[in-house]
Symmetry: C3
Subunit: 160 residues, 3 copies
Amino acid sequence: MNNRERVSIIVFSGDLDKCLAAFIIGTGAAASGMQVDMFFTFWGLSVLRKRGIKVKGKSLTEKMFGMMLPKGADSLALSKMNMLGLGTKMMKEVMKKKRIASLSELLEIAQQFGVNLYACEMSMKVMGLKREELIDGIKGIVGVATYLENAAKSQITLFI
Amino acid sequence: MNNRERVSIIVFSGDLDKCLAAFIIGTGAAASGMQVDMFFTFWGLSVLRKRGIKVKGKSLTEKMFGMMLPKGADSLALSKMNMLGLGTKMMKEVMKKKRIASLSELLEIAQQFGVNLYACEMSMKVMGLKREELIDGIKGIVGVATYLENAAKSQITLFI
Amino acid sequence: MNNRERVSIIVFSGDLDKCLAAFIIGTGAAASGMQVDMFFTFWGLSVLRKRGIKVKGKSLTEKMFGMMLPKGADSLALSKMNMLGLGTKMMKEVMKKKRIASLSELLEIAQQFGVNLYACEMSMKVMGLKREELIDGIKGIVGVATYLENAAKSQITLFI
């Protein structure tokens, strides 16, 4: 087990293109037998958000963060050429036509392949996100110590 | 050969400043005897584009991607302070005056020093880019499996 | 000493959120006994700037770079949702209220924990930044060779 090659990815970005890259690497590595840990922090947390969840008792700032962060893998936009959503829509259609998995499909594949998904505790605290607002199947809400422990054993470490 | 130190860089960004950083690291590592693999994906592919190539039979979307992606190393812009091109121009002039290699010079140096340049197969498919639209001397158009195989043997792995 | 685990972080970005992430990882690693090297390059150099320093004899371009680069850790803005400074202000207030260290506090902690801070020689040259414009306690103004030497011995290598 110790000899299994490992990949550790911090997903900081909430941009569609960067998150696609993260998941293509993550699922590709898992498919070839590597152990994969993905740590979602800051804007990256938006990938793990569930749709249509409302949590009571949030402060005004927390409500604002909640409104502004994309709600889940289907809501992300491109980092460039978004063009008020047109570029993002175009990219999604091209990917569909060329039979390339969408971000939400990649997220599902990642979970099926046993990729460990972690949410960053401190970012959740800053943004006022609660556990029940995230999708099921997350391995843990963890701090930087857990990230470091895993990453130090990984051949491939990326910040995306 | 197995003991030679290795660097693996994913060039995701198509921003001039980030690509400069990638090539300064890549050529610096190659110059000091390390094996360097650079994988160009998404916007990063623009660095590898040849100028003045027209390919027939592209779909409308592919033509749009072609028009919007910078055409080669000389066409990239800064990620910040671009100011409608003024910042980029200023940066290029400063670099020239201070005798720092430009991006296209660094690309040439990288090739002379034996840096392995790879283009991402899936990104090319999404954007409708053809082999003949890329510069000569690319080691391969490859998928994530090739990236992972190389990166897992690299001491330094970066996503830029 | 050789067996001590190491982290090597390139801080390319001058965005508040990305620099926070870099320092949370860096100070977290140092706190758990790892050796940490942080290389500040391009926009990342703004974190190391001292406030209120004026250097004479700069060219017009160098003065412009000086004016446009944020002056130190307290002056950085968010990469997203900055909203003319409102988003950044909101984020800082939330962090304060939730007792999370600010960027300048993290910078201080990093120095107390013995994190090695390096400034990129070439970027300083391009931007016309002088040694006396940077904070005290920097380990060195170095080139890519020093970065590579340290990074090649690090288990965790990140480009932020």
